[in-house]
Every structure is written in C-alpha cells, then in structure tokens.
C-alpha cells in the first residue's frame, strides 16, 4: 500500500524577484514499511523536498498524497492536524523544547493529539525504555549528549505512531559513535514496520535504507532499490553486506 506519493512536485523560491528552483518535478512513491534515503549534495533540494512532504514548506506546484489523501491543497492548520496524527519529524539539530524535560518533550505530541495523560505517559515510558533513556526522563535537554538528544527527538517523533517518519540529516550533528546508535535505532524502528523517508548526504547512512533516491539540482537522477537479503546465518551474502 502506498503511504506517500508525489506528482511532479515543484518548489521555486523567489529571491528578490529572481525565481530559484529548488525542486523541479519530483515523482516519488513510497510504500508502507519502506525505508527511503534521499541523497544528494548540498543545495540539491533534498531538505526542501522533505519539508514539503511534511507540510513545513508549501509546494509551488504538483501534488502530494499522504495515506491516500491529497495533502498539498491543505491549509496550514489542516497540515498541522495531519502532522499531528501521521507524520513524525526528526531534525539535524534535535530541536527539543529547551524548557521542558525529556519526558515532557516525548509526551507533548501525544497530548497534542488528544490522547489521555495516562496513555501518553504509558507511551512515553515505553518509548524511552525502548531507546534506553528511562533514567534521563526528568533531565533537561541541555544536560544530554547530542546522541541522547537525538534519541529523545526520535522518541518524540514516534510518540503518535505516525504513518510516516521524516528525518532530516538526523546524524549530521553527531559523532560516529552516536551516529551508530541512532542509525541502529532507525533500523530497529524500520524493522517494526515504520515507513521512513530520510535525507542525508552521507552514503553510509543511506546504505541502511531499502532504497536510495539521488537528487541533483532538484531532480531525481537515480532511484535504486538496494537488493538486500535478510542477513542469513553464515551465508555468503554477509561478505557483500559488510561494506
């Protein structure tokens, strides 16, 4: 089943009356449970694309379909309501609410969606436990390491069991050890059936995905599925997987 579909999606910024095309006619189809990495050099339009998919930025033309519903024509408020239920965001700079504790940060989306406090707390406890952050629940974000902050951000993004998780360079600001932790978590989430669209310029991160879409100057230049067998036990394929 298709979770996300874009038809000839275009974004043109106006820079002092000079049109600057950022995304030029992207057709993308993401199926349920798929993990898509969008790769490309800086300025290729990948972040813009991701923002449009989440309704943070308005498209200039084209269509966006989310869960079978047309989304590009929605108003700002309707997008907000849609995001609440169906989309989780992870950003490069984590963007935790500085004045709130870790626990509150994670509960916030659930409360926003109208879940009862009890349920929100249960969900938060489950998520923090899954991301091994339980003992940091009452800490302020500033007291956490970058990797921990990004794990909290991930927990927050997953709080409402969104249909689609959008991640914008989630490891762009982390050292290699924390990058490994966050990527491990992302693959675990993916294994549980979460649909993910991730933007990165790091090939190692992209290699985790089922499918890599390469973007250059706002256009898809390559869309390749990574043929991957499930890691067998002692199979010959393991040699190939170990890149």
């Amino acid at each position: 089943m298709t979770v996300l579909r874009t038809v000839n999606l275009v974004k043109i910024y106006q820079n002092k009356h000079v049109p600057v095309p950022a995304v030029r006619g992207v057709d993308l189809l993401v199926d349920e449970g798929e993990f898509v990495a969008v790769m490309g050099p800086s300025g290729s339009g990948k972040s813009t694309l991701l923002h449009m998919l989440g309704g943070l930025d308005i498209r200039t033309s084209g269509e966006i379909w989310l869960d079978g519903q047309r989304a590009d024509t929605l108003s700002e408020s309707a997008w907000a309501l849609l995001r609440r239920k169906k989309i989780g965001f992870v950003f490069q700079f984590f963007n935790l609410v500085a004045s709130m504790t870790v626990a509150d940060n994670v509960e916030l989306p659930a409360l926003l969606a109208g879940v009862s406090s009890k349920e929100a707390r249960a969900r938060r406890e489950y998520l923090l436990d899954a991301l091994s952050l339980t003992e940091r629940a009452d800490a302020a974000p500033a007291q956490l390491s970058g990797g921990e902050q990004q794990r909290v951000a991930l927990a927050r993004a997953l709080a409402n069991k969104p249909a689609l998780l959008l991640a914008d360079e989630p490891t762009g600001n982390l050292d290699s050890r924390n990058t490994r932790d966050v990527l491990r978590l992302l693959s675990e989430v993916h294994r549980d059936g979460q649909t993910i669209v991730l933007v990165t310029h790091d090939a190692r991160v992209a290699s985790l995905a089922d499918r890599v879409v390469s973007l250059l100057d706002g256009q898809i230049v390559d869309d390749g599925r990574i043929a991957r067998r499930r890691p067998g036990r002692g199979g010959a394929g393991e040699v190939i997987d170990l890149r």
Binding site: S77, N95, A98, S99, M100, L112, N173
Partner: protein, 757 residues
C-alpha cells in the same frame, strides 16, 4: 489544551524571575491606578455621599439677627429650610493648641434638612446638658473621641468645659482645617450660657432647593431680601470644592503617574513578551512541526503572557484596595472606576502581548536554522572610533545596540518614559521644597499673624516691631464680600497699604499701587470670569467697593479665590483697627522662636498664628512620589532585563567569534554591557530631558486648574538630576553586568549558541 498547558508551565518555570517581575510591575501599576481613582473619585464623593446622607442644604446664610424663615421658604425653588440656628465663635484649647470653632445650637431632635449623621456615640440629649457633638474632621484633627472633655473659651474670655457625646458627619461645611472654624453642636440652652451676648453670635439658616442649579438665583434673592442682615452666604459648590481641596491635586498626580505608568508597563510587557517570543522562535517552529496550528501557537503565547498580566492585575487590585482603605481611611472603593481600571488594564495587557503572540504564530514551521540577528556593519563612525583607538569593546557594543531597531527603540523608549515620570516627580518635590524655602513666593511673606487679645492693636504692633526677628509689620483684615452674579461670598484679604504694599508674589500684571486697585488669585479670576485690568463691583458688609484688578498673584489658599488689596482700599469700619498684624520675619529668624518671644513679651496678650505652608499640607505627596519612583524603577528594570536577555541571545553567536578574535572575557563582557548601556544612557538622558522640559509647565497647568495659578513650578535642581541619572544608569549597568559576566565566561556549545537561554 493539555499540551499547551504543559509547554506554558515549563516555559514559566524556565524564566521565573522575569515572570515575577512582570507580575509585580503590573500589580504595582494597577494598585497605583486604583489609589489614584479612589482619590479622584473621593475628591467629589465625600460631599456627594454626605450631602445625600444628611439631606443637606444647598445654600447657607449667616445673618446678624434671626431671619424670617417663612419668607425665605417662600422664595421660588426653596423646598425646605434648616434652622435658623444660633451660632457663636469660641476658641478650643487642646494640648496647648488653639483651634477656632463655631458652637451651633441644635435641638434634641435632629432636623430633617442638613441633619448631622452621628458616626460615633450619640446625639445631644437633655439629660446631658454639657454634651457636645463634634464634626468628624474637626474631632479627628484635634484628637477628640467620645467622652473627651473640650475646653472652650468664649469671646468674653469665659472658659467652659463640654464633653464629647458624639461625633457626626455633616455636609454643612468643608472639612477642618481647610474650612475653619470647626463645627460643634450643642443644645440651645448650653449655647445661651456660654455666649449670653446676642451681639456676639450669628444666625445660620440652610435652604434646600428643588434644583441645585438654581442656587445662584436663590442666593441673589436671599441677599436682596435680607440686605444688610447678611453676613455671609455660601453654597454647596463651595463646600464641595473645599472637601476636594487636597485630594484633587494628589489624585491628579497619581492618575498622571498611573496612566503614563500604564503606557510604560504596556511597553515593558510588549517588550518582554516580544523578546521572549524572539528567543523562542526555534521552539515555536518545533511546536508547529509537531502539529501545533498557527492559532494554537498564538493562543499559547497570548495565554502565557496575558496570564502574567492578568495575575498582576488581580494582585494589584487587592493592595490597591488595601491602600485606599488603610492609608486613606476610605471604607468603600467605588465600583465603577475599579471595574474600569481592571478592564482597561486587562485590555492594555492583551493588546501589548497580542502583537508578539501574533508574530510568534507566523513563524515558519521549519526550525532548522536558529534565527539569526540582522547583521550590522561597522559604520563610518565606528571605524573612526577604532582608528582613534577607542576600546574595541565600546565600539562593538555600540554597534550591536542598534542592530535590532524595534527592540532598541522599545528599550530606549521604555526607559525614557519612566525616567521622564521620575523627573516630573522630582520636579514636584522641588516645587514643594521651594514652597518651604521661599514662602514669600506663594504669598506667605508674613509667616506669623498676630491678633491682639488683651492688648490694643497699637500695642500689639509696637510689641511686634520691637522683636529682633521681625522685619516688617503689615496691618491686615480678612473680610467676606458679596459679588453680584456670584452665588456666594468671596474672601477679600486686605493687608499692607498702597503706601507700603504687602509684597504679594505677582505672577502677571503688577502689584496694586493705589487705593481701589487689587490683585487676585487665578481661582478668583476664573470664578468671576474677569481678567487683569477689569473692574469688579463688590459689597463688603453692605458697603459698596469697586476695585480694578491690576495683577494676578500666586494664591495657595481657598482654591485661589481670594482678592488681595491694601487696607486703605476698604472702608475704615472694616479695617480700623486692623483685625491682625502680618509679621514678615528677617532672614533666618525661626517663626516658632519669634512666636514664643512675642507671647512672653506680651504676657500672653496676643494670639499668634503660624501660617501653614501649603507644602506641609501636601507632604503626603512626597510619600506618593517615593512610591511611584519605586514602581517606575520596577518598570525600567523589567525593560532592561528584556533588553539584556535579547542582547545576549543575539550575540551568543558572536561571542565565540569575539573570543576567537582575541578579546578577553572581560572585553567580551564590556562589549555586551556596552550594547545595553548605550540604550540605557540614551533612554535615561532622553527621559530626563523630556521630563525637565515639561515639568514646569505641567505643574503650572495643575496650578492653574487648582486655582493657585501658574508660576509655582520648579524643575528639579541640576544636582538632583545628575544624581538621578547617575543612579539610573549605574543601577542599569549593574543589572546588565551579571548576565553579561555569566555569558562571557560560559563555555560555548559546538555550534555557537546555547539551546537553553
């Protein structure tokens, strides 16, 4: 919205100090406004309340003999009459002080019109023939309570003791000591015993009218009908004006401070909320990316910042009410102004936080990039400053100060407004000081008034002239005069002669120089609707008097409704011998010493009265000024904290750069402090300049409306202003220093700004 509530709670917890300051500022402003409104409202209300309570009379007539009340009652417009009551002047002796009083005879059953309302104790009864009921303000001034003995001395010199049976409210006359003599009611038989001589007493009759507006018409009819019998006529308007004398000035001052303070508080609130929103743009964007709608974000901000304001209002109403109740001793705060102030302040608060809330809600939901401050560049002036080797911290700080125009303006303006009000407050203070230091400038050249008691007037004059502290002795008399077309008597003060004129402080025109010339206070010019150069026709005790007003004096007494002239302008019967001698003292002579010496020299044969300086009466204003300065300083502080928080936030990114450039932590701190300091100095200097510019005219305007007349306003001294400016700037810099110090020493995060501000 539970999500929103949780966010608000977390945000408030993160900036507790700022929130408390905001609440305190609003609370202080509201308390000041309520106090002001009560004072203003009260300035008319005590009369209104008392008048309806006592079923008061609109017109009071003092006559030599018992008038024909039936005839008076038949005048068109008169519905009822009170009296006539016999009244006799006596002197009260309380703890060495003498107080003039009028004993008014009243029956055991209080009358229907102008009925004194007993507040404490009871009304006169025949079972206690030496009982007396004292008017409340008089009793309070003399410290009399129910059961206190009262020593009265009649004109004959005979002493009697009365016992206070009750204390009553009355709208028959103004409050003591603004209105003298004080009022005491006794039984008619007692009055006959104290003052058997009919010639030394008067008859007082009150008339209640169907329409208060017909007072003038009725009063003229009464004057015509009773003709020479009339000693004095006054109306409800005069009583009302007398009751509002002091509070009006105070109330106006407080209202002025309150309203400007409200504007300043609105600025401070807008600045604080705006600064906070700017600091939170990233958080707000995050909230939107999570699914908060624009309306929800706006609502969130409005609720958070608005709630602080509303809490401030709630907290301000209570102390405001308490202050009016405890300090001013008013039992009821009028509901309408209370509601108006609460609603008005709430509206101001919501408008002040509405704009930043709206702006915050417009944040694009992409939180990736921290909001970058507008980049300034070194102006030619700054480059020049660096070239001539001014400290780089100063140059950089000064440049930074204006990189955000609107907050820079809000900060400067937000400091300038309180500073302007403080300057005005200091100007009022200086004016009061000037009253005290130079009483001759407010018409109190003569500081002692001497009335002969046992001596002849000539002996009294000689005794006064012999005293080493006395410079000049002026003959004087106060008489009441009737003016055609004016419903009541006016005060004519004859003092000095056209040969040796009393040095009235003439603000406009010139001093009287001849018989038939007079000077008048602003209040009288307004009352008679005349201007300098006009002729006025008066009747003093039945004798016609025509004077030309040649000048305007500064006149603090009786709302400025006083006509002053030389004794030789009046008929001899009114001023020979003079009623009193006005003593102008030599420089440095203490009035109390001179008074004691004269009393000893004359063997207590003189009654010597010290002229009360209006500044002494207005001394509560000083307390008000101090309180207001505290409130205003609070507002300034709130603004300053916002400015320095915003400055730090904007420059957090620069800090790393500055350090990388080789600035020491001390220099970094200096840069930050300079950034705030430039705005502080600008605001403080602008405010002080504006304040000193308007203060004189403002006080003169107030003087004009209160009848004293223009020409009393004094700007604060240069020294006072310097101290005030230094204190304000110093305090501001000290406040800015702490966060700057912390920021300069802090280790910077990897990407140049700390997430937790």
């Amino acid at each position: 919205m539970r999500a929103g509530a949780r966010w608000i709670r977390a945000d408030l917890r993160a900036r507790r100090g700022q929130a408390v300051l905001t609440v305190a500022t609003i609370a202080a402003i509201v308390a000041a406004l309520i106090t002001a409104a009560t004072l203003l409202e009260d300035s008319t209300n005590p009369w209104r309340g008392l008048f309806s309570q006592t079923n008061g009379a609109h017109l009071w007539v003092h006559t030599k003999d018992r008038p024909q009340v039936v005839a008076l009652r038949e005048i068109d417009g008169v519905t009822q009459a009170a009296g006539p009551y016999r009244t006799a002047p006596v002197t009260l002796l309380e703890e060495g002080r003498k107080a003039p009083a009028a004993l008014r005879a009243m029956p055991v059953t209080p009358p229907e019109v102008a009925r004194p309302v007993v507040a404490e104790g009871g009304w006169l009864t025949s079972s206690q023939p030496d009982g007396a009921v004292v008017e409340r303000s008089f009793a309070r001034a003399l410290g009399l309570g129910v059961g206190s003995p009262v020593n009265v001395t009649a004109l004959s010199g005979a002493r009697h003791v009365l016992y206070v049976r009750g204390i009553a409210d009355s709208a028959d006359q103004g409050f003591y000591p603004e209105w003298t003599p004080g009022l005491i009611w006794v039984l008619p038989e007692k009055l006959d015993r104290i003052e058997p001589e009919l010639g030394r007493s008067e008859w007082v009759t009150g008339l209640r009218l169907a329409d208060p507006e017909s007072t003038q018409f009725v009063s003229q009819r009464v004057v015509v009908m009773l003709d020479e019998e009339v000693q004095r006529v006054y109306t409800w308007r005069e009583v009302r004006d007398a009751m509002e004398l002091d509070n009006r000035l105070l109330g106006t001052l407080l209202a002025l401070f309150g309203i400007v303070g409200l504007v300043a508080a609105a600025l401070a609130l807008a600045n604080a909320a705006g600064g906070r929103v700017l600091a939170q743009l990233r958080d707000l964007a995050t909230l939107k990316s999570m699914g908060f709608t624009r309306g929800q974000v706006a609502g969130l901000l409005l609720v958070e910042h608005g709630a602080l304001g509303l809490l401030g209002i709630a907290l301000g109403v209570l102390p405001g009410w308490l202050v009016t109740w405890l300090v001013l001793d008013r039992t009821a705060v009028a509901l309408v102004p209370l509601v108006a102030i609460t609603a008005g302040t709430a509206l101001v608060v919501l408008v002040a936080v509405g704009l930043p809330a709206w702006r915050g809600s417009r944040t694009p939901p992409i939180p990736a990039a921290p909001s970058a401050p507008p980049r300034g560049h070194l102006s030619r002036l700054a480059k020049l400053a660096l070239l001539v080797r001014l400290p780089p911290a100063l140059v950089l700080g000064a440049r930074d100060a204006f990189s955000r125009r609107v907050p820079a303006f809000l900060t400067t303006f937000g400091l300038a407004v309180p500073m302007m009000m403080i300057t005005i407050g200091l100007g009022v203070w200086a004016t009061l000081d000037n009253f005290l230091a130079h009483p001759e400038q407010v018409g109190q050249h003569a500081q002692l008034l001497v009335r002969p008691v046992k001596l002849t007037p000539e002996e009294a004059k000689r005794a006064a002239q012999l005293d080493p502290g006395v410079r000049e002795v002026y003959p004087g008399a106060d008489v009441d005069a009737l003016v055609p077309g004016v419903a009541r008597s006016i005060r004519v003060r004859a003092i000095g002669g056209s040969g040796a004129p009393y040095p009235f402080p003439v603000a406009e025109g010139r001093m009287y120089a001849d018989r038939g010339e007079a000077v008048a206070g602003q209040g009288l010019l307004d009352l008679l609707k005349v201007k300098i150069g006009d002729r006025v026709w008066l009747s003093v005790g039945g004798t016609p008097l025509i004077v030309r007003i040649v000048g305007r004096t500064v006149e603090p007494d009786l709302d400025g409704q006083v006509l002053s002239l030389g004794v030789d302008s009046l008929a001899a019967k009114d001023v020979v011998p003079p009623e009193f001698w006005g003593l102008a003292l030599k420089k440095g002579a203490d009035p109390a010493d001179v008074r004691d010496r004269l009393l000893t020299a004359s063997g207590e044969g003189l009654e010597i009265q010290r002229v009360v300086n209006p500044a002494e009466r207005l001394s509560i204003i000083r307390a008000v000024i101090v309180a207001l300065i505290v409130v205003l300083a609070l507002i300034g502080l709130a603004n300053l904290l916002t400015a320095s928080a915003l400055g730090l936030r904007d420059h957090a990114l620069d800090l790393a750069v500055l350090k990388a450039m080789g600035l020491t932590p001390r220099q970094v701190m200096a840069t930050l402090v300079t950034g705030t300091g430039v705005l502080v100095v600008l605001g403080v200097v602008l405010g002080t300049a504006a304040g000193s510019f308007v203060v004189t005219s403002l006080i003169d305007l107030q003087g004009h409306t209160s009848g004293v007349g223009a020409g009393i306003g004094r700007p604060p001294s240069a020294l006072t202003l310097t101290v005030a400016v230094t204190a304000a700037v110093g305090a501001a810099l000290a406040v800015a220093l702490l966060p700057a110090r912390r920021a300069a020493r802090a280790q910077l995060g990897t990407y140049g700004f700390s997430a937790n501000q």
